[in-house]
């Protein structure tokens, strides 16, 4: 029993480590390298799934799925965070739990288990996503992509609202509550970023469409 837990902890640690690398990789994205970076990140994430999530899936049967959750949840949360971050950067939408579980269907052969991500790990992983989106928003403003910050802001707002309506009901509501607070902090940082961009823009071009100026600025560089 302890060996199984041991193996899950190790697999989870690897899932975390390599998922973090995918996230770091996606952060290197800018307007020039977008496609190549995303393709590479997609390949890397697929490898995390095949090489390491499979190791998790292989161990879990019946009630073990919940029994050992503490052992593998950190890895799965980080995987969700990475996958959802990548999906947002590619398609600007929220990766759903069904999307993820469909993508795990192919693990069945390798793990000989019908592995399904549970709702809690999904929600907790999605909760962490906001932190990465906050970093992305700030660096996209730095890179001159003001619109991107605005759309991140709207995305996070709606995500926060959806989660706030169910967060109280989540199993470990204390853990979720913590995440909600961090999420709100991140959201406020994104809003502050949008605020700064707006106020600075308004000074020079009251009412103007900011993109033009920003576009011009991009050419300068």
């Amino acid at each position: 029993m302890y060996e199984k837990r041991e193996r899950l902890v190790k697999a989870s640690r690897d899932v975390t480590m390599y998922s973090k690398k995918v996230i770091f990789q996606v952060h290197r994205l800018n307007s020039k390298n977008k496609e190549s970076v995303l393709e590479q990140a997609e390949r890397d994430l697929a490898n995390v799934k095949m090489d390491h999530v499979t190791r998790v899936a292989k161990e879990l049967q019946g009630s073990e799925f919940w029994k050992f959750r503490r052992a593998y949840t950190p890895g799965m949360q980080e995987y969700v965070e990475a996958a959802a971050f990548l999906e947002f950067c590619k398609n600007g939408r929220l990766l759903t739990l069904d999307d993820l579980n469909e993508s795990f269907a192919e693990l069945k052969d390798a793990s000989s288990n019908d592995f399904q991500l549970n709702l809690l790990d999904y929600l907790l992983g999605v909760g962490d996503l906001t932190g990465e989106l906050m970093r992305l928003a700030i660096s996209s403003v730095t890179d001159g992509e003001v619109d991107s910050a605005k759309s991140i802001c709207n995305f996070v707002r709606s995500l926060y609202m959806s989660l706030s309506l169910i967060s109280q009901e989540v199993d470990d509501s204390w853990e979720m509550k913590q995440k909600m607070e961090v999420m709100l902090q991140s959201l406020m940082k994104i809003e502050n970023t949008c605020y700064t961009v707006h106020v600075r823009g308004s000074e020079y071009f009251p009412g103007a469409v900011l993109e033009n100026i920003e576009g011009q600025r991009m050419e300068d560089n």
Binding site: N154, L165, E191, E203
Partner: protein
């Protein structure tokens, strides 16, 4: 009275008050749901200019709140003079309720919802089941905490004068609190945080002022008017 009989009597008394708690818990859990829903709706206010529709939608819950507080009062009536024995049960939720009512009131009128008006909205009467003063004050601290975020978002949507309104309101509120001789407790700690809210709102006002974005007809301090 013998020791044993004494403890037997204690057991009965404690079970009785345990039953009171059980009933309070059930009612407060309803209060919890109601305020959570109101808070979620209030989030929309941050995303755009606060429309009268949104505000009335939130205000529509006041009726429900009044009924819930009525139930609490009913339970408390069975244990006279013990309001403060059970107070902790509904305290946290009441902070949020006061915050919500005072925020809506400020959005609609630009003024401060008074202690009496807050109690009246909830159908609470002094002497019986009233609105505890400290609960009301903590609720105002929650409002103060919310204003910086609100101002940032409103300025982003182009309502620059909002910064002035919030700054005047908040500095009056802060000065009023300052005169209270607060104990070294939660309320004191919450009030200590208020100066950061004020500072942040003042910085936003500074940002719009220095860029010439402020309209001319700005309100003066309510305290002076």
């Amino acid at each position: 009275m013998s020791v044993d009989r004494q403890f037997e009597e204690f057991r009965l008394q404690l079970e009785e008050s345990g039953a009171v708690r059980e009933r309070l818990r059930a009612i407060v859990s309803e209060l919890d749901s109601a305020t959570r829903l109101m808070q979620a709706q209030l989030l929309l206010i941050h995303h755009s200019r606060p429309s009268p529709e949104i505000l009335s939608k939130i205000k529509a819950h006041t009726e429900g709140l009044r009924s819930i507080y009525g139930q609490l009062a009913e339970v408390l009536k069975s244990v006279p003079a013990q309001y403060y024995r059970y107070h902790d049960h509904w305290r946290n939720q009441t902070y949020t309720v006061v915050f919500l009512l005072a925020f809506i009131h400020w959005l609609e009128t630009g003024g401060l919802l008074s202690h009496g008006d807050a109690a009246a909205l909830l159908g609470l009467k002094d002497g019986e089941f009233g609105l505890d003063l400290e609960d009301y004050l903590v609720g105002l601290c929650n409002l103060s905490n919310e204003l910086p975020r609100y101002v940032v978002n409103q300025v982003t949507t182009g309502d620059y004068d909002c910064a002035k309104r919030a700054s005047v309101f908040l500095s009056d509120l802060y000065a009023a609190f300052r005169m209270l001789n607060l104990r070294n407790d939660l309320l004191r700690k919450r009030f200590d945080g208020m100066k950061y809210d004020l500072k942040k709102v003042e910085e936003v006002l500074y940002d719009v002022k220095i860029r010439g974005l402020l309209s001319d007809t700005t309100p003066t301090s309510a305290a002076e008017s």
